[in-house]
């Protein structure tokens, strides 16, 4: 069995062993979304105007919450340092880990956003655009928050520092996604913006793992 | 070209109608530059004192 398959299977088994890891962010997402009408007014016109943006931000936060400790347990168990002996470039293994994380942790999160959309009376065509933007944009977001997680690995009192450090880098993604949603609302062409968003994700997914692997090496070299 | 743009020193200080915006901004700028300079001097002094203490302990 190839290393790549072994790695994916391991991630899958970890989720089965710790289902809370994916349930908690979903729970968070639905909870945040149900706070919105409570804090605002339960006016369905207003909600459907801001609903998609709220869901986007809530998903972003849930994803960050989810990715913050991406490498923590492997690091403290000493499994991460074994990666160096696996005869593969570290950046490739990091990429695999990020892909597995996206597949098993982020995708389920995206799949429940329609429920949140119905709760905030987001119109159907906007909801579809929302789903598409999330699917296209989250690989980039996952990569960046993975970098945040890797950079703060070695510090015991980092708290949510990884999230705070990476959040500013999400700006282009959020802006582009919001652009798609606005265009979807007034029915104009969203394809060019989606293409840009996709390009950003592709570039991030190829380059960020290199930075993540450098950060991991750094933390392995610094720990005893 | 280089002439005083205000009727009097009092008019300069008032800088009508925007004196309330201009002067505090420059005051803050001075505060930041001065504060950073002071912080550097104090950090330098603290470093020297720490090294001195280490030397005395040995």
């Amino acid at each position: 069995m190839s290393l790549e398959r072994r790695m994916l299977i391991r991630e899958l088994k970890l989720i089965i062993a710790r289902p809370g890891d994916i349930i908690k962010p979903m729970w968070f997402l639905v909870l945040v979304v149900s706070m919105v009408p409570l804090a605002l007014v339960p006016d369905s016109d207003l909600l459907s105007d801001i609903g998609s943006a709220m869901i986007w931000v809530a998903t972003l936060l849930a994803l960050l919450l989810n990715t913050e400790h991406l490498f923590q347990s492997d690091f403290s168990d000493g499994v991460l340092e074994q990666w160096l002996f696996l005869n593969r470039p570290l950046a490739w293994l990091v990429g695999l880990k990020l892909i597995a994380h996206w597949l098993f942790h982020v995708l389920p999160l995206i799949l429940i956003t329609p429920i949140a959309g119905i709760m905030l009376s987001v119109p159907m065509e906007v909801l579809l655009a929302l789903l598409v933007t999330l699917v296209i944009a989250t690989p980039a977001l996952t990569c960046f928050s993975g970098l945040g997680a890797a950079l703060t690995l070695g510090s015991s009192r980092s708290g949510i520092l990884g999230v705070l450090v990476m959040m500013p880098l999400f700006v282009p993604v959020v802006i582009l996604a919001a652009g798609v949603l606005i265009r979807a609302m007034d029915g104009s062409d969203t394809l060019p913006l989606l293409a840009l968003l996709g390009a950003f994700s592709v570039v991030a997914a190829t380059l960020v793992p290199i930075a993540v692997s450098a950060a991991i090496r750094l933390n392995i070299g610094g720990s005893n | 070209m280089l002439e005083f743009q205000f009727a009097s020193l009092a008019a300069f200080c008032e800088m009508a109608p925007h004196g309330v915006y201009v002067w505090p901004t420059y005051g803050l700028g001075l505060l930041v530059l001065g504060g950073l300079t002071l912080a550097n001097v104090r950090q330098h002094r603290r470093a020297i004192r720490m090294i001195q203490r280490n030397l005395e302990r040995e």
């Binding site: 970098l147 950079l151 703060t152 070695g154 510090s155 009192r157 980092s158 520092l161 705070l164 450090v165 990476m166 500013p168 880098l169 700006v171 282009p172 802006i175 582009l176 652009g179 950003f200 380059l207 960020v208 930075a211 450098a214 950060a215 750094l218 933390n219 070299g221 610094g222 | 070209m1 280089l2 002439e3 743009q5 205000f6 300069f12 800088m15 109608p17 925007h18 004196g19 915006y21 201009v22 505090p24 901004t25 420059y26 803050l28 700028g29 930041v32 530059l33 950073l36 300079t37 550097n40 950090q43 330098h44 603290r46 470093a47 020297i48 720490m50 090294i51 001195q52 280490n54 030397l55």
Partner: protein, 246 residues
């Protein structure tokens, strides 16, 4: 000859001794230029016929905003030097610049907000340049926070270096996306390539202040770097000798 001038920077002692002298020169030069430029701008430059006297804030706001962005680029250059030549001084510079950068970014945000009140009637608008400045402030904060969270200075320096490099690649993308998102602001008031629309009596003091603030930044960075070098090299022989002599 050749690379000697560059490799000297590898020696903290050489830097510490020279930087003291450079700092003196920069300090006085910056002070002179800033007093000159600011007084010129405040008292001698003509009143703007549209904005009145409030425009005089640009003699602080524009140089500080330039600096805030330039310092991030400077930090990225230091990160490259740190990774390519493993020069510890580059890490010290990165640490100093991050703090100065945050201070100047905050100053430019606040002065911009104050300028905005008489000009747009409100302290804050979500305009492209203000927003990207705000994000720049967050980036600086991140670099400072990351360094504070990691104990070992070498490791902290490398982690910050990675963050700064990723940040500097993203910065133009952030800037363009924010600009695309919103363009309300007046066009940049001073561009090196075009002849500025301002009369000379207005832009000459601005130029004086820009140069003044850049030199002031060099002065501040050198000062903070000297303190950090002393702290990090506390166990080396030359520092002990220096301190016991004093």
């Amino acid at each position: 000859m050749g690379w000697r001038w560059f490799h000297q920077w590898g020696s903290p002692r050489w830097f510490y001794e020279r930087a003291g002298r450079w700092q003196l020169v920069c300090g006085w030069l910056a002070l002179t230029l800033l007093i000159m430029g600011s007084l010129w701008g405040l008292a001698l430059a003509p009143v703007d016929y549209q904005q009145g006297n409030s425009y005089r804030i640009i003699y602080l706001h524009v140089p500080v905003a330039f600096l805030a962005q330039a310092l991030y680029a400077a930090m990225a250059v230091c990160a490259v030097v740190l990774f390519v030549w493993k020069m510890k001084l580059a890490d010290v510079a990165m640490q100093s610049i991050a703090v100065m950068g945050l201070a100047f970014t905050a100053l430019s945000l606040i002065s911009g907000a104050v300028w905005g009140k008489p000009t747009w009637g409100t302290y804050w608008v979500w305009d492209a340049r203000l927003t990207s400045m705000l994000i720049l402030a967050f980036l600086y904060l991140g670099v400072i926070g990351l360094r504070a969270a990691i104990q070992d200075p070498d490791q902290a320096g490398k982690a910050c270096g990675i963050l700064v490099l990723v940040g500097v690649v993203n910065l133009p993308i952030i800037k363009y996306s924010v600009e695309w998102w919103n363009t309300l602001h007046q066009p940049a008031s001073l561009k090196l390539t075009e002849k500025p629309a301002m009369p000379a009596s207005m832009w000459i003091p601005l130029l004086v202040n820009i140069v003044g603030y850049y030199i002031a930044a060099v002065y501040l960075i050198l000062g903070s770097m000297r303190a950090i070098v002393l702290e990090r090299e506390r166990r080396s022989a030359w520092v002990r000798e220096l301190v016991s002599r004093a």
